[in-house]
Symmetry: D2
Subunit: 153 residues, 4 copies
């Protein structure tokens, strides 16, 4: 089906990943614009599809499939998130979530994320994620994942 | 903490369970009223707290704790749901979710659910749930759960 | 941006509309599969994008833009929904929401919706929607919208 | 109904507000614990009920009811949010959201928020909110709201 729906996971553009997101009823609130918590969901979709296009899937990671080798089940988890809400998105809007790698540590990754509507910046975030095992213990980013990531910018 | 927050899980009233639910920003959409999908969440909260007050917890079930005995991990899953949306709830409203047991089969339970604001009926539903194991296979409702349920009305 | 992201709103295929939906963290629950309430959101996205590709947008309707003429603000609202949950979707899955027009009355529209993963049917629904004004009063489906809808199948 | 459900909106304790929140299916994700975006919703509930117990309701504000006087419709909006996710909450958990006023400016309010499970701190946040009118323009915090707020701590 992926062939049928090109760009459903957005696209890589150099160091950046861009994901289109449509605003539906579910994303808005009674104030008439998008609920602030919805941007948190959009940004998670952006990070997930960035990883997907690099060849890292949540389901395979959780199963312990480490790029072919077997290992313990792993999952990415968010440790810290700072979001600035600048302008509201509205129903029917098409926005884009841009994700860039900012820092790559032993056990954590920091990304910059921006939500835009055309040229307008609606929200920006700095998000720190870490890799944990099923027991919640932090795990060093494996070399096979590290090898797939673009250099931090 | 439960002592500190009486009625947080609602209350049993004969065959019925009543759960109070406050309407927050997250539950509304840009049309100014509650998003239709939010009632599905409220009804799940009602069913969960009905079971909780009867002594059946999701976490214990998933761990395989069967009222003290060990067994395979189980979870309730929704098989079928018919909802009628009659009147909209609004931000700041306090609504009540009423749940009553309608049918009790070998492997499935049917409940009636009603969302009210005071005397006004906002939404009604008939929901069929079943018990499954971790592999998704249907499981007969164990006697220890059956013994805790009120008679269907 | 629409040119950049073809098929973001799915596609019309005769009387049917097909929308691709990716399963993200936000759509799942602790049982390991997709939360039942998430299908309600996916189905709303399908109905919305069906209307969008036919030329009917929620934002324009709410503003009272009736295909060019001015009028009172209108919104679609769900009156009744029956959903059968057959098989669970999982994280990273790509599913498709198919929407077909089933009945077209004076003030209400009934659609059939099916969520598939490849050839597997995961969930089906029959959904009745109606058009209301800002005061919540039912409104007859205007001729300009009626003219855009495919014949019921 | 408020009399029937004491403490549904939590309670004021000196400068602090405490709101109990139950973890339901809807709040969790396939990793087995609470989805990080759910804490954002819990914290909004805490801020809303803090205001509610002080006598400031979203619905009345949006209608332009300024503590009895009429005025333009207003709504609180989140400008900035920094969250640290320390330990995960799980299904069936009862957590408490503590909100304290940190800074009170002319047009913005900064609050500290902490989510706890018993004595364990699960998440902390610093949140800046502002008041806007229906056109999205910032508005000075009216004196009648200011008079109801406790002194920043």
């Amino acid at each position: 089906m992926t062939a049928t729906w090109p760009h459903l996971s957005g696209r890589l553009d150099g160091n950046r990943h861009i994901l289109p997101v449509r605003i539906y009823f579910e994303d808005t609130d009674f104030s008439g614009v998008v609920y602030h918590g919805s941007y948190v969901r959009f940004m998670e979709r952006g990070r997930t599809d960035f990883l997907r296009l690099l060849g890292v899937g949540h389901e395979a990671l959780a199963r312990g499939d480490h790029g072919g080798d077997e290992g313990e089940g792993l999952a990415f988890t968010v440790r810290r998130m700072t979001i600035d809400f600048l302008k509201p998105a509205r129903i029917d809007d098409l926005v884009e979530v841009e994700t860039t790698l900012k820092e790559l540590g032993g056990a954590r990754v920091v990304v910059d994320q921006t939500v835009r509507r055309g040229a307008e910046v609606l929200a920006t975030a700095v998000v720190t994620v870490a890799l944990i095992n099923a027991a919640g213990q932090p795990r060093r980013l494996p070399d096979w994942i590290r090898a797939k990531l673009p250099p931090p910018s």
